[in-house]
């Protein structure tokens, strides 16, 4: 009996979702916007990234995209990037949203978009909410954010980015 309990606890510990302080989950996903391009976690192992999981059917996700674009532009020279992973069933919907976003912004969004049809990322992180974001520095999770960024909490992630870039 004791052995069973210990092995259950061990398996829970082994398969628990990554937390702040843990290594980010490796991924290799097709780009949502660029043909024949693959977005890989290993490309960001020496960078600071804001990793975001979003869907075109999620209003909150779409609302925070202009803010991500601002972040991407502001810290482009600082080895920082916003990586947004889309989890739509059909990538076309998400692509048309990105097209509209670019039109609205008047330029190409400074966000790296990847497409995760199998929803492997939210599954790996056991997402309790969509959208969710992680600040990942050199492959290690340093902060997690649940729900969309609004005017009242945008300063929080800006402060975290600036602290990580120091």
């Amino acid at each position: 009996m004791k052995k069973i309990v210990v092995s259950i606890l061990f398996s829970v510990a082994v398969f628990a979702a990554p937390q702040v302080g843990d290594k980010a989950v490796e991924f290799s996903l097709p780009s949502l916007t660029l043909k024949d391009k693959t977005v890989k976690m290993q490309d960001y192992n020496n960078k600071l990234i804001l990793f975001n999981v979003w869907a075109s059917w999620c209003k909150g996700c779409k609302k925070e995209m202009p803010f991500f674009h601002k972040l991407g532009k502001k810290y482009a020279q600082d080895n920082f990037e916003v990586v947004a992973i889309n989890i739509d069933k059909k990538g076309k919907k998400a692509q048309s949203y990105v097209k509209k976003l670019n039109e609205k912004l008047g330029e190409i969004a400074k966000i790296t978009f990847a497409y995760d049809k199998k929803k492997s990322m939210p599954e790996a992180y056991e997402a309790k909410v969509v959208p969710f974001s992680l600040l990942i520095n050199n492959g290690k999770i340093i902060k997690s954010y649940y729900g969309s960024f609004k005017e009242d909490n945008e300063h929080e992630v800006i402060a975290d980015i600036e602290a990580a870039l120091k």
Partner: protein
């Protein structure tokens, strides 16, 4: 009898499933709204009090003809 009840219970219970937030694409569509057509919803809320005689139940009401 007991087995039959257990089987029925299992069948019913197997119909329940946990839907993760990232799997709610279908639930987020327009057709899943309680009132999927906004124009129709306005019409319904206009006609309902007249048909049911429940005037004032939803909002202001100004006549019995349904014409407002």
């Amino acid at each position: 009898m007991k087995i039959a009840l257990i089987m029925i219970a299992l069948l019913i219970l197997s119909g329940c499933t946990h839907v993760a937030p990232y799997e709610k694409e279908e639930l987020a569509t327009q057709k899943m709204l309680a009132a999927p057509m906004t124009t129709r919803a306005a019409f319904d809320s206009h006609v309902f009090p007249i048909r049911e005689g429940s005037f004032g139940a939803e909002s202001g009401f100004s006549g019995g003809c349904g014409c407002k």
